[in-house]
């Protein structure tokens, strides 16, 4: 009797070789990826960078995406950040189906929903810290007075109020990354997406930046850090491991 009841209704679908029927996306999730494929054409060969990846990320999570180089984690990051669209599958960000958007709509999403932090900071060399932070607001069409105020606040949030008029080459690496974080946060995006944020920093400064991420997470931001360093990944609350274009492991560690 008990044997019979042990057969769960979902069991056959796990075991079947029938074509996979995608689960509907989770409407409550901030990010909902379903069966995401990314395929590149390399000469006559098709290279699959992602083989049908599915996961959900909820508001307020702090996630590390980890994997060796060539695992597909950069591709995944570009998709999450709306710099690219999947070859197949659905990507829902903040209840919007991003996978079907055109270039201008994607630019709008990047502007409003995503805050990027890069390994090499990617600040405009000729612009001051303040102007760098204002840049997303400019493309968001926000007037100069409001823009100024918001940028000042964002710089204050990363403790750089005294470096507002400095240019990137007048700042230390850690300070540059903090300017970049301020730029990422200034539009109050849904996600803060960091690609190897400490890759160009010494270990002491790296810890400072990771402390800052922790603080920002504590203030309610959703943070996704893409890294190959386990030390950095360990600071997150959930780690998604990617290998060969598939999710190898997805676990809450805190």
């Amino acid at each position: 009797m008990s044997d019979v009841t042990l057969v769960s209704p979902s069991a056959p679908s796990v075991l079947t070789t029938e074509p996979h029927v995608p689960q509907p996306h989770d409407a409550s999730a901030l990010i909902s990826m379903r069966e995401i494929w990314k395929t590149y054409q390399m000469g006559s060969e098709q290279v699959h960078a992602l083989h049908g990846v599915s996961f959900d990320i909820h508001r307020g999570e702090y996630i590390a995406i980890i994997g060796p180089s060539g695992s597909g984690k950069s591709t995944l990051m570009n998709l999450i950040g709306c710099l690219d669209t999947p070859s197949n599958g659905e990507y829902w960000l903040n209840s919007k189906n991003v996978s079907e958007m055109d270039d201008d709509e994607l630019a709008r999403i990047r502007n409003q929903e995503v805050g990027f932090v890069f390994q090499t900071f990617n600040l405009l060399a000729r612009a001051t810290a303040l102007h760098n932070v204002e840049l997303p607001l400019i493309y968001g069409g926000i007037g100069s007075a409001k823009r100024h105020e918001m940028a000042q606040q964002a710089l204050a949030a990363v403790d750089l109020s005294d470096r507002v008029t400095h240019r990137p080459n007048e700042l230390s690496g850690g300070q540059r990354q903090r300017v970049a974080i301020a730029r990422a946060l200034v539009n109050h995006p849904s996600i803060l997406l960091a690609d190897e944020p400490t890759g160009a920093l010494d270990s002491h400064t790296s810890m400072e930046i990771m402390d800052l991420f922790e603080r920002l997470h504590g203030e309610g931001n959703t943070i996704i850090v893409v890294t190959h360093e386990h030390d950095i990944a360990k600071r997150a609350h959930r780690v998604i491991s990617i290998r060969d274009g598939l999710i190898e492991n997805d676990e809450k560690i805190r």
Binding site: R108, N122, G143
Partner: protein
Amino acid sequence: MSQLNTTRAGAGSAPTNHGETFSVTRRSFSFFRLTALWEAFLVALGSLRANKLRTALTLVGIVVGVAAVIAVVTIIQGLDNKVATTFSSQGSTVFTISKRPQIIRSREEFVKFNKRKDVTHEDAEAVARLCAACWRVGVAANVRETVKHGDQKFENVVIRGVTPATMFEIDGRAIEVGRIWTEAEGVSGREICVVGPDVLTNLFGGASADRVIGQEVRIAGRPFQILGVLEPLGSIFGASRDSVAYIPYSTYQKVYGARDSIVVFVQVPTAEQLEVAEDQVRTVMRNRRGGVFKQEDDEGFSLETQDVFLDLYGKATSNIKLVTIGVAAISLLVGGIVVMNIMLVSVTERTKEIGIRKAIGARQKDVLTQFLIEAVAVTAIGGAIGVVTGFGLAYLIAALIGFPLLISVWAAVMGVGISSLVGIISGLWPAWRAARLDPIEALRSE
């Protein structure tokens, strides 16, 4: 049901309107993205300033092109204006009655016109008496002659025998110093003259006009007393119009005989009356010829305004003008290619920056506008410098040729406008390439 709908519409109308107004404002705002435009402008200026040598080279390309076009156009305009004012110094209110038209196109025409009866002083008197619409009627005959004073000689002076004294006004000439002869002097056959300023320069060593009055010059071996000096009119095509001596027609006849047909000048008060006057003159002249002259379909005399010269000038120079402007425009084209070249370099150099901007939300049109503005900024500035340089060049050339310069606001506006257009055209492709860059690739570049 219908009630429900009405209620809904009624209740919803006010907020909906508000909502629409708001969203329209927002949409148009975000479409133009004034802040992004301003940002694009600042970025353009910053990039131009940061690459001074590159900017300077681009500027030179545009400046040369625009300056060439502006200089050519300005000189042509000056020339046209000079020609127009010269030929219309008698004004569009004057026409002539002559045996031969002023422009003869073929030998056949020359033979035909030569068979005509001479236009005489009597014809002029008849016109003056019978043509009601004619305001002033005068007679003039010209000959080229060497004028002497002491041991000074001045060759090729136009000796113009005129009567009555109103011919000075018909000719559009004014007295600077001295006087015109009186009516009595005019018919007396006395050797008196009014000379152009060139005669002073050449025979009196540039002595001031009032010291020349009363002195004598020799024309055709006879001593002529100078009564007055004319105001200068300047020269046209290198031929001075001030190298002239007016003498009474009675004197002219005495010295040169009635060796050629005369030209009768008729002036009407306003240009509108020109046609009426011409019709009346035609009637008078036909009556006087009385059919004797009539061969084939020729009426035996020519009525002409000075427009014939303007027409001829226009026809003769229109092709030259086009070719000259065309050649100048080629240098502008080269300038445009320089701009395109530099812009392509600039896009390649700033691939990373474009990637950053796209990553944080710049749309294709934002990037496109930024680079277009950069191209237009440099070409507009180049255009402005080019206009000034072009005017300067034209000024120098005009000073060398010796005619007054006509600086037109139109040419200046066109210069800057056209160069900006060149900027848009040559900036479009590089800007489009920048806008189309893949943000991932762009971010990866160094």
